[in-house]
Structure formats: C-alpha cells, structure tokens
Amino acid sequence: MDRRSFLKFSAATGMALATSEAQATEPAQPEEFVGVLVDTTRCIGCRSCERACSVANNLPVPDVEKDGALAQVRDTSDHQWTVVNRFETSKGEVFVKKQCLHCWQPACGAACLTNAMYKTRTGPVIWRPGKCMGCRFCMVSCPFDVPKFEYSGWNPKIQKCSMCAERLEQGKKPACVEACPTDALMFSSKRQLMEVARVRIYNHPERYVHKIYGEYEVGGTGWLYLSAVPFEEIGFRTDLGTTPYPEYTRNFLYGVPLGLFGLPALLVGLSLLAQNDKSRLEGSES
C-alpha cells in the first residue's frame, strides 16, 4: 500500500469495513504504470513530437522548420507541453525531449488539495480543471518545474503533458511517440521499458552512460531516459535524490491527527491543572 492510498485509507477508517468488503469482491486487476523510454542517442531533433503534441492537445502548433527554436535551450510553457533542446556535449550535439516525467509518486499530486493533479491508475499524471483552484502549489512542489500556469485571462489553466491520457484510453499511443520517426521514443509499461533500456546498455556499453534516468530519481518516474553523456551535460538535475517527494511531507501529515487529538487533551489537562479556584472557571469570560 503506497502512502497516498494509506492516507486515504486512514482518513476513511470509519468506512474501513465497508470498503475492505467491497475490495474483496472485486477481481484482482494487475495494473502496471505505463511510461515512455527516451533514447537521446536516437533523437535527431526534428521536433515532430512537438508538433504532434500541439495538434493532439489543441495547443498552438510551432513552425518547427522555420522558427529556429533549437538555437536556445527552452522550457516547456503554458502553451507548449513538450520541447526538444539541443546541447553541445563532450560527444557532440545531443537532442533531448523535455516534458512531464509522470513520477510514480508525484509531488504535484501530493501537493494538490483537491486532487486536481491526479495520478491515474495507468500512470499518466493529469490535471482536472473542475477541481483545480489555481493555487499553484503543484508548481512550488514539482522538482522538475513541469506544471505551467496561464498568467493571462480570467479562467487560467495549469498546462502540462498528460501523456495523452485520453488517447491511451482509446488504446492509442501518446501523440509524440507515434510521431517519432527514429524510434527515439518507446511507449510501454515501465517494467518492459526498463528491460529494453538495460538490454540497449548491455549490447552497446560504449554508446551509453550506464544509468537510466528515471529508474530511481525522485522515487522513479514514468518517463525514462538513456544518454551517451552524463545527464548533467544535457540539462538534467541529478541532485534530486531517490526519495519520492511526497515522503518529505509524510512525517508532518502523520503528525496532524496526533496533534488534532493530542493537543486538546493536553490543553484540557493544563486548564484543569491551572484551575485552583472554581470561581475562576465560572467567572471566566471573554
């Protein structure tokens, strides 16, 4: 049981019996989180993924042939869920696609007080407009600075890659994966992606650094990266640790119920202790 479901479970202890019964009658469904393996050694920087993403998600479509966007390192934005960046590295130029990494235990989801940022059962981390109040706590919490906010307009949205969750439900692949002409992107379950990634490193030990970014980072991510050069050289933070980010608030959140029941008990006790005169209680006034 992961932390999120544990918290939900403990919050609903009153209904614990009922739910456990309901769970018992449900057939066990082995579900796996899906993800994408990005092999940066295969990417040619054609930015077909950028265009396909914008088309599939009703975002302004970039003119990838003429806009010369590769000249500088870009970030995703409130109108672009994915970008490809060019890096000069020790092994020549490398192109790296950037988008939401769809963490296994996303900080944004743990931050969201309405579960608008939501890790679906199949892996994509999606944003649900009907729930979001626009507090931007997800942006503060995301270690990769992925969620982007629309600062213009009365009805702003949080914009981020959804791994094309709706397409996945229809049995399709994410739009970027489908558009990739060089198989730099591969869509599958994380278990299978890990196998593929390891096989590639094993077969070509000289071509890759022996690390799969996303295997352990921030507790594991849905998107995985292979690289020919150390990941620092191609714009990745390697100081984020392997602890799932929700863990950092776990102790505090576990302390809340203790405080909620423990403190009043303590205060009542103190109040009685300080009550050396009964008339003070009767005469206590605002």
């Binding site: 109040m133 629309e150 009365w154 950092y248 008339s279 009767e282 006034e285 605002s286």
Partner: protein, 414 residues
C-alpha cells in the same frame, strides 16, 4: 404567545434601528490615516478588478519560476505568523488562567480574527480559479495527502473558533444578555480548539515548503521548517501584540480608564518577557540545525551573509534587546525590539517563500507596484474594520459586562 411574538418583533426592529444607527461614522473623516488609506484602497480595488478580468499576469510579476510572490509570501505566510498573538494569549488567559493579560484579550482576539479573514483571505486574490475554492470543503475532492488541505481546513475552522471567542462582545454590543452568557460559556472550548488548530497550521505553513527541497537554499531548507514556523509564530504574535497594543493604546485611549493605563505597561513588559524566552529558544534551535547540518561552508557567499543578517541581525539582536528592555523596564526599547523582531520574521518568511526560493535560477522576482498596493489595500481595509468594531463594541473599554451582570465583580475580588 401573541404578546411575546410582538415583543420579539419589536425587539428585532429595535436591533435593526440600532444597527442602522451604528453604521454612521463616529469620528472625524479627514484624519491622516483616512486621507492615505482611502485612495490606496480605491486603487487596490481597481487593480483587483483588472486582475480578475485579465489574469494574474496583468498586475503581478509572478512567473513560471516564481508561482508565489508577495501575496502569498507576505500576506498569507507572514500575515498568519504576525497573527499568532491570538492563540498564544488565549492560551495564557483561558487555559492557564493568567488574569494579568485579560484586559487585552478581546482586542487580541479581534485582531487575530480580522488578520485571518483578511490575510488568509488574501489567498483567494491569488487563486487562479477562485470559484473552486470550496472544492476541498465540499469534497471535490478531499486531498487528504496535501499539506495545503490541512492548512485550508484549519484556517477555516480557526476563523470560526475565533469568531466564537469574540462573539460575546458582539452580543454585548447588541444588548443580548442571555445570548452573551451562552456564547461566553463556549469560550474555553473554542480556545482549546483554536490553540490546537493554530499550532497545526502555523506548522503547516512551514510544511508547504517541504517538497520544495531542491529549490530552497540549503541554509533555509530543513525538515524542521514546520517546527521553526510554529516557534517563531509565538514570538511574532507576541511582538505584534506589543506593537499593536502600543498603537491602539494611543489611538483609542479615550476607551480606557486610568487603572487600565497603568496595567498596560505591566502587560507589555510581561509580553516582552515571553518574547525574549521564545526568541532565544528559536535562536538556539537555528544554531543547532546549522551546526548539525555542518553548513559552515555555505556562509562564504552572498547567501551566507544574507542568512547571518536574518539570524544574527534580526533574531539574536532583537532577542538581546528584549532581555535588556525587560530588565531595565524600558518600554521604548521594548517597542523598537518588537518592530525589529517582526522585521526578522518578515525576512525569514520571505526568504523561504520568495527570496531564497529558486535561488539557483538566473531570473529573480520583485513584486510589482500593483502587488504592493493590493497588499496595502488588504492591510488598510483590515484596520478600517478593526477601528469600526472597536469604536462600537466593548473591545477595549470596561465593563465587558452588561450593567447588571455580576461575574466580573466576583472575579475582581478573587
């Protein structure tokens, strides 16, 4: 039946007529404060209108790298720390029975209540989709796993608890004696709930930044941010009581009788003692964390110097000033120390939420003039409401009771 019904309906009419009469301004309109605050508030309302039509970007300097700016960092995070006086004082007076502070408890609770309504309420101004603010309350959906969920709920419930603590004053104002007595009987319960919720959400405000680990400068990031926030909210709240008490003591001196003037100095010195002790505990804790994390190497940078300004310049120095002020019974020094301590809190909260946040990025955030005006608007509006209530309701003046209510006499003889 019928006579009592007509009686109550005439009673309602009397109350309504009374309320209407109370709506009229009761003081001179052309005061310096009014002359400054009225244009600022009007400008602030204009800015907010633009903000709700054209979005946050039209009036703020917020960006994708700085999702939270002055409105969260100052209004909410700092404002709530400043409002900590209410829970500390109600704890002392109602739970521990320290009668010495009874005379200022109503003003403090009112201040706390209004601070939460306005400063925590300023959160709504910062929300991109404010119409969804009720979602975590109505269950669309309950994000139990979120620190902010806990903070939001405890803000809400704390405001109710404080309203309950203040409600006897409203009942006295309306001349509803039996209601007053009933509400007064709820005070201790409301205080116990209020102190609990305050402790939790003062810590919760700190816990908001726990997941921002890679973004906050290591001199400020620690897993103990929640504890630091709670401890510092105690002395922030008490310092605010000293500052507010000194100001309102002067402004509303016509509401106080001679014995209260004398008491007032003793109260301020007593609060100063509390601040000195809490501040020292906080400072000690800061040093302990610094040594434990072996952060000496971090001091040799601009950030290190800035950190020392905060911890030595704005915690240790005012702490020493408080100790000296209490020992020499110097009210002047006490007031300077209190303002200084508040500056320290402001620095600390802004450092964590804005200044040392995303410190590695080349872009920096500075508040726009519109953000500053809106912040002033929030503060001025709160002062307007505070003044409106103090002038009308028995907040500062004696007696707290209706003419023939006895308990205060009983208490005074005890």
């Amino acid at each position: 039946m019928i006579p009592s019904a007509t009686q109550s309906s005439s009673g309602v009419r009397r109350v309504l007529r009374f309320l209407l009469a109370e709506m009229r301004p009761k003081g001179p309109l052309m005061t310096p404060f009014n002359m400054i605050s009225i244009p600022v508030i009007l400008l602030g309302i204009g800015i907010l209108t633009v903000r709700f039509i054209y979005g946050l970007g039209s009036v703020t300097n917020l960006s994708q790298s700085y999702p939270w700016g002055l409105w969260i960092g100052f209004d909410v995070v700092t404002g709530v720390a400043f409002a900590g006086g209410a829970y500390v004082l109600t704890f002392a007076v109602y739970v521990m029975g320290v009668e010495k502070y009874h005379p200022i408890v109503r003003a403090t609770v009112l201040n706390g209540l209004l601070a939460y309504v306005f400063y925590a309420g300023a959160l709504v101004l910062d929300l991109g989709r404010p119409w969804n603010v009720i979602n975590p309350i109505i269950g669309n959906s309950f994000g139990y796993n979120s620190v902010l969920f806990q903070v939001a709920w405890s803000f809400l419930l704390y405001m109710l608890a404080e309203a309950l603590e203040f409600s006897p004053a409203v009942a006295e104002w309306l001349g509803l004696k039996r209601l007053r007595n009933f509400l007064r009987s709820l005070t201790l319960g409301a205080v116990i709930i209020g102190v609990t919720l305050s402790t939790l959400h003062q810590a919760g405000l700190g816990a908001l930044f726990l997941m921002a680990k890679p973004k906050i400068h290591p001199l400020w990031y620690t897993e103990f941010i929640p504890v630091l926030f709670t401890v510092s909210s105690i002395y922030a709240g008490l310092s605010m009581l000293i500052v507010e008490g000194s100001i309102s003591h002067r402004v509303f001196s016509d509401q106080l009788d001679a014995s209260k003037h004398h008491q007032h100095n003793e109260i301020l010195l007593g609060l100063g003692k509390g601040v000195a002790i809490t501040m020292f505990a906080y400072y000690f804790f800061k040093v302990l964390l610094f040594l434990h994390d072996r952060q000496w190497h971090l001091l040799a940078s601009g950030w290190g110097a800035w950190y020392l300004v905060e911890v030595l310049g704005c915690v240790l120095v005012p702490c020493v000033m408080f100790i000296s002020a209490v020992r020499t019974r110097s009210l002047g020094l006490l007031r300077v120390a209190a303002v200084w301590a508040l500056v320290g809190i402001l620095l600390n909260r802004l450092n964590i939420s804005v200044i040392a946040f995303n410190w590695q990025l080349p872009v920096r955030y500075y508040p726009s003039w519109q953000e500053i005006i809106v912040t002033l608007t929030v503060a001025f509006t709160e002062i307007w409401v505070f003044r409106w209530i103090v002038v009308r309701m028995p907040v500062m003046r004696e007696p707290h009771e209706l003419p023939h209510a006895a308990p205060s006499v009983v208490r005074a003889t005890v």
